[in-house]
């Protein structure tokens, strides 16, 4: 639960819907618009594994009939949290639908390298192309810091915006919104290099944008280029956000979920309202917001399974696979301790071999711990046998209130089920844990290690939290004795 990036299509839908609806903090120089924005033209195309690329594209032509308009020009691009798409050649600009279609066909469901990361392209966004003079391209960025929200603005937006930290005009809006800057202050700080004529239009837009940022609890919002084409008498303007990246505060779901959903409902997007086939009742007027995994880090089946289990309980269960072929696997309790373990493994020189990051905490039940451990173990056995064997850390700090014996019961059950495989894969198991009833827990796991003849070392609170890592990986010696009943 934290600030999480959202799809460009979702960000645009939320802005489009709420720009005229979110309450502005102070009155803007322009009269309140009598009408709301028309539905945005956002064709968001998803290509799951079990669907044919052409079938998805055919369906898109029905769902978004404007794609077939005569002589229309479009922009197509992958919508998967990829930065600097223009430079990576992942923009298809000013092309007819037929051309865009071919362009997408050639890339959908294919592996693409972006800088150093490989990932499969499976989500695209197609929008109408907006022709505009280059002097109407701006750059705006709002991001949250402890003291307030920084608004960064420059009149020279576009692909080659350069170092915005250096050249953008900056304005800090304090947390206390009663201190919100006046229209004049906004113009004087941010619009120094913009012709006076369109100040009102821009101040109005910035104020509205900021209102949405607050009302929908964004933590980051960047539009580049932002195209503002004022009308003749500069009382309003056509605003286009051509490219957008945004993060929402996931923890604010209980306050903003309804706003995020309604902006992305079929009605708000101007789509034909289709009754969901499964007849399920959704909690809001639109679909729940999605937080996609970073590019190249598609959730595996196992990660999705753990995420689902995590969502259903008060306990915390996290799993990220870093290198499925890695030799070093972790099964660590606690949000802090798990990072400490990853650090120790990396500093021992095994960053490349570190297979997973994960943690379980908040007193998960025996069954939950069992399923969590089984998932990690299964993944470990899927990676090929290594001549030097593998290392499994069953670690954790000194628990505050989790009953160690009972969570260890789940781990032990999982170990029992896979004992022959543990031996076959030559897995060294290193255990360190403390907290309520740890004596019982360590005694039990030690007994099982002996019984099943596993290569196991067990330590209690006398050992440093991650002290077993150098022992296991670099052959360091220690005076601290293994746990003994």
């Amino acid at each position: 639960m934290s600030a999480k990036a959202i799809l460009e299509a979702d960000g645009k839908a939320i802005l489009n819907y709420h720009l005229t609806r979110a309450p502005v903090i102070k009155p803007t120089p322009l009269p309140v618009s009598a009408t709301h924005n028309p539905a945005p033209k956002l064709a968001s195309l998803n290509f799951p594994d079990d669907q044919d690329v052409n079938a998805v594209l055919d369906q898109a032509e029905t769902t978004y009939p404007w794609l077939l308009a005569r002589d229309a020009k479009f922009v197509a691009k992958p919508d998967q949290l990829i930065k600097r798409r223009g430079k990576a050649g992942l923009l298809c600009l000013n092309k007819s639908w037929a051309e865009c279609r071919t362009w997408i066909e050639g890339r959908a469901k294919k592996v693409q390298r972006v800088e150093t990361v490989d990932g499969i392209l499976r989500n695209f966004l197609v929008e109408p192309f907006v022709p505009h003079p280059s002097d109407t391209e701006y750059y705006i960025n709002i991001n949250s810091v402890r003291e307030g929200d920084w608004i960064l603005f420059t009149h020279e937006g576009g692909v080659d915006v350069g170092d915005v930290d250096e050249k953008a005009e900056k304005l800090l809006v304090p947390v206390d919104l009663s201190q919100y800057p006046s229209n004049d202050e906004i113009a004087a700080t941010l619009l120094k290099k913009v012709p006076k004529g369109i100040h009102n239009v821009l101040v109005d837009f910035i104020s509205r944008l900021y209102a949405v940022f607050v009302d929908c609890q964004f933590t980051y919002l960047e539009i580049n280029p932002l195209v503002v084409i004022p009308n003749a008498d500069a009382t309003s303007a056509e605003v286009h956000f051509l490219d957008l990246a945004a993060k929402l505060d996931q923890t604010a779901e209980f306050e903003c979920g309804v706003k995020w959903a309604i902006a992305r409902s079929a009605t708000a997007l101007g789509l034909a309202v289709v009754k969901p086939r499964d007849g399920k009742v959704t909690i809001d007027a639109g679909p729940p917001i999605e937080f996609p995994a970073p590019f190249g880090r598609e959730l595996s089946k196992e990660e999705a399974y753990i995420a689902e289990m995590d969502a259903k309980t008060g306990a915390s269960l996290k799993l990220t696979i870093l290198n499925p072929k890695g030799r070093v696997w972790t099964l660590v309790a606690g949000g802090g301790a798990s990072v400490v373990y990853a650090d120790a493994i990396a500093s021992a020189g095994f960053a490349g071999e570190l297979a997973n990051y994960g943690e379980y905490s908040g007193a998960p039940s025996e069954t939950q711990t069992f399923h969590y451990a089984r998932t990690v173990l299964d993944l470990m056995f899927r990676s090929p046998n290594h001549p030097e064997g593998k290392v499994l850390f069953i670690g954790g700090g000194i628990a505050n209130f989790t009953n160690v014996a009972s969570t260890f019961k789940g781990v032990i059950r999982a170990l029992r089920e896979v004992a022959p495989l543990l031996i076959e894969h030559k897995v060294q198991i290193w255990v360190r844990r403390a907290g309520p009833n740890y004596q019982e827990g360590l005694k039990n796991i030690q007994a099982v290690g002996k019984e099943l003849e596993l290569d196991m070392h067990v330590y209690g609170p006398e050992m440093h939290v991650s002290g077993i890592v150098p022992l296991a990986l670099t052959g360091k010696q220690s005076d601290i004795k293994e746990f003994s009943g």
Partner: protein, 670 residues
């Protein structure tokens, strides 16, 4: 994790074990009461957030955390508990009973913040356990009271904007916020926030009952316990420790507490456990560079692995995510080292480094070793001792039929999901709960058949009548149902039990059906289960035919039913309507079932009959009908029933009519 939902286990106001049983000592005698301080305490130095007279409120019903705080206070030899009261807005309860050592004390529970504040002017800090949804509103309310100087926010998942608004207001008012998303903090010998420090055995192991010389600030609450352990093992112990919480915008950050530690003469070594994400470590670096902080700082930022991974990973804490090179753990460690902090090469080497710093200060006399006080004894909680297997006691109750403690409800060992998967029906559930076994399918269906046949018998019978009259008197469903059920006994509905008993006895004695009928007549007894008002041999009761057909078709053995049918042949030869009625038929069939379905031993079968299981069948079945009569009367909106005078014969004695014995009392002699 932290929430305002009351915890059910460990609630101290349930049974208080061992207090009422020891000869004559009433529970009340063992309760310690604490008077409010007679005069206001003299103000403490600016840097002292907590001391050994700190009094707090706990917001939210968290009996386990409160008990942990009181236990800590007790072993620190505090005179008064640190918790002055509990604020629980959903509450209706006015005191909460807690242990104070081995005796008990009562903590007031307030429904409103205002009342609590008015009552306890000595309280200046709050441990806020409100959920992430409600913590904003409650913290804002708490900050309106000028007596509050610090608030710990435990909840995880507070929206970042709300967290910033809280910290902004707090800063303006000079209130110290610890959290959100933290376990809290601890000041050994003085005060402990909520669950900090873990269980009592760990608090003793890490010597947190008396102050040492090392003060720490950590981001992670879980790792703070690890720090307690490291500090206790390598130095003279913890002086104070605060976990500021893993969120992006903690209410106070490292620098706030570091400056306090610097100002506090008792604190000699500072320890900082930072983390990837955020820039707050740099403010400590600036303070060191500017000479604001002069005490030695041992420091480490965790999350160095992040820079070595190919992709971005969101670690356990919401704030542990580097948005720039500056925010990486590696950059922080490097900068801290350059600023003269004691930064080890890896976190594993931190204990040695801390030990070195400590030994040096010991040598140069900055730290003077203090005498070690006796290790306090800790009372162990009954429930925990039981979980550890240290104690036992005889259970007051035994149950052998169902269990709700596990992942799934069990009926006689069968998980509820299997009950539905195998579609065992209500008859199957009855066989599980009544007899603790699976009966053959036909037996379950027979039980269901009995329920269906006995469900109702019209409004005129006594049970239904009672229910109707009670309903019409405006009573609720349960009263109406029970008033109907109370008529069930040897006369109404009891024919089942009686029939089973008489027929079985006769059959087991080996009486021929004719002998049985003759014996009963000689004893002037009616045969229960024989006879019907209108039905006769030529006009058979269809319900009886249904039962007979089912039993003959499915039961492995129908000896008693056959016997009863033979008895019927004898009785109907005397009078046409002396047929085996539905009660009799069900009763004898049920005996056949118990005896011959193979699931019961003969002794068990007799036992169940003696327990009155047949009456149970009737009660269960007829409840369906009685509820129906209740609903029917309600639906019809019928009014209070009053029986007409003309339907009652009034025969009263006339006391004035003559000498005693001739008053004209109506007597019925038996």
């Amino acid at each position: 994790m932290p929430s305002a939902v009351p915890e059910t286990n460990g609630t101290p106001n349930g049974t208080t074990l061992g207090t009422s049983t020891d000869g004559g000592l009433s529970a009340n005698d063992n309760i310690r009461r604490f008077a409010a301080p007679s005069r206001p305490l003299s103000p403490r130095a600016e840097h002292t957030l907590f001391h050994n007279k700190t009094r707090c409120f706990v917001y939210g019903l968290q009996p386990r955390a409160v008990q942990g705080m009181l236990d800590f206070d007790f072993i620190c030899k505090r005179k008064t508990p640190s918790v002055a009261g509990i604020i629980y807005t959903f509450g209706g309860q006015f005191v909460s009973k807690m242990y104070w050592g081995t005796s008990e004390t009562l903590l007031p529970v307030y429904q409103s913040v205002e009342k609590a504040m008015a009552k306890h002017s000595d309280v200046d800090t709050v441990v806020n356990f409100a959920s992430s949804r409600s913590v904003y509103q409650s913290t804002m309310e708490l900050m309106e009271y000028p007596q509050i100087k610090s608030i710990a926010i435990i909840a995880e998942g507070v929206p970042e904007r709300r967290a910033r608004e809280i910290l902004h207001v707090a800063k303006k008012k000079g209130i110290t916020i610890i959290g959100p998303a933290t376990v809290g903090g601890i000041k050994p010998g003085c005060y402990k926030i909520g669950n900090t420090g873990g269980m009592m055995d760990n608090i003793v192991a890490s010597k947190l009952y008396r102050p040492g010389s090392v003060a720490y600030v950590s981001k992670s609450g879980g790792m703070s316990n690890e720090l307690n352990n490291i500090i206790a093992n390598t130095t003279d112990g913890v002086y104070e420790g605060v976990a500021i919480g893993g969120d992006r915008y903690p209410g106070t950050t490292f620098i706030d507490h570091m400056l306090r530690y610097q100002a506090d003469p008792e604190c000699k070594v500072l320890l900082l456990l930072g983390e990837v994400g955020g820039v707050e470590e740099y403010r400590v670096i600036d303070a060191v560079k500017s000479g604001q902080i002069t005490k030695p700082i041992v420091a480490w930022a965790i999350g160095t692995v992040a820079s070595m991974l190919k992709t971005e990973v969101q670690f356990g804490h919401a704030g542990s995510f580097a948005n720039s090179q500056l925010e990486t753990a590696a950059a922080k460690n490097k900068s801290m080292k350059e600023a003269g902090f004691f930064v080890p090469d890896t976190f594993e080497e931190m204990p040695q480094m801390l030990a070195q710093v400590y030994q040096k200060l010991l040598k140069d006399g900055t730290i003077k070793p203090k005498p070690e006080p006796a290790v306090p004894k800790i009372p162990i909680d009954y429930s925990w001792a039981q979980e550890l297997g240290l104690i036992r006691k005889p259970a007051a109750f035994i149950s052998t039929i169902s269990d709700d403690r596990g992942q799934e409800l069990l009926y006689a060992g069968m998980p509820i999901s299997d009950v539905f998967k195998e579609n065992i029906g209500i008859g199957g559930v009855m066989s599980l709960l009544w007899f603790r076994r699976r009966l053959p399918d036909y037996a379950s269906r027979f039980l269901e058949m009995v329920l269906m046949l006995t469900a109702d018998h019209g409004p005129a019978v006594s049970g239904a009548m009672n229910t109707i009259i009670t309903t019409r008197a405006g009573k609720d469903l349960i009263s109406a149902l029970v008033s109907g059920l109370l008529t069930i006994g040897s006369r109404f509905g009891g024919a089942l039990d009686g029939a089973a008993e008489e027929f079985t006895r006769a059959y087991d004695k080996g009486l021929s059906p004719r002998d049985f009928v003759d014996t009963m007549r000689k004893e002037n007894k009616l045969i229960p289960g024989i006879g019907h008002r209108v039905k006769s041999r030529n006009n058979p009761d269809l319900r009886v035919e249904l039962v007979k057909e089912f039993v003959h078709k499915n039961f492995p053995n129908t000896k008693l039913l056959d016997y009863a049918i033979a008895v019927e042949t004898v009785t109907t030869s005397k009078k046409d309507n002396l047929i085996l009625n539905v009660d009799g038929c069900i009763a004898v069939s049920f005996v056949d079932l118990l005896r011959n379905c193979g699931a019961f031993s003969p002794e068990e079968a007799e036992d169940y009959l003696k327990m009155g299981v047949l009456n149970g069948l009737f009660v269960l079945g007829r409840s369906i009908g009685l509820i129906a009569h209740f609903l029917d009367q309600k639906r019809l909106r019928t009014g209070l029933y009053r029986h007409p005078w003309d339907d009652i014969t009034y025969l009263l004695p006339n006391l004035a009519s003559g000498p005693p014995g001739t008053e004209g009392r109506v007597e019925v002699s038996m």
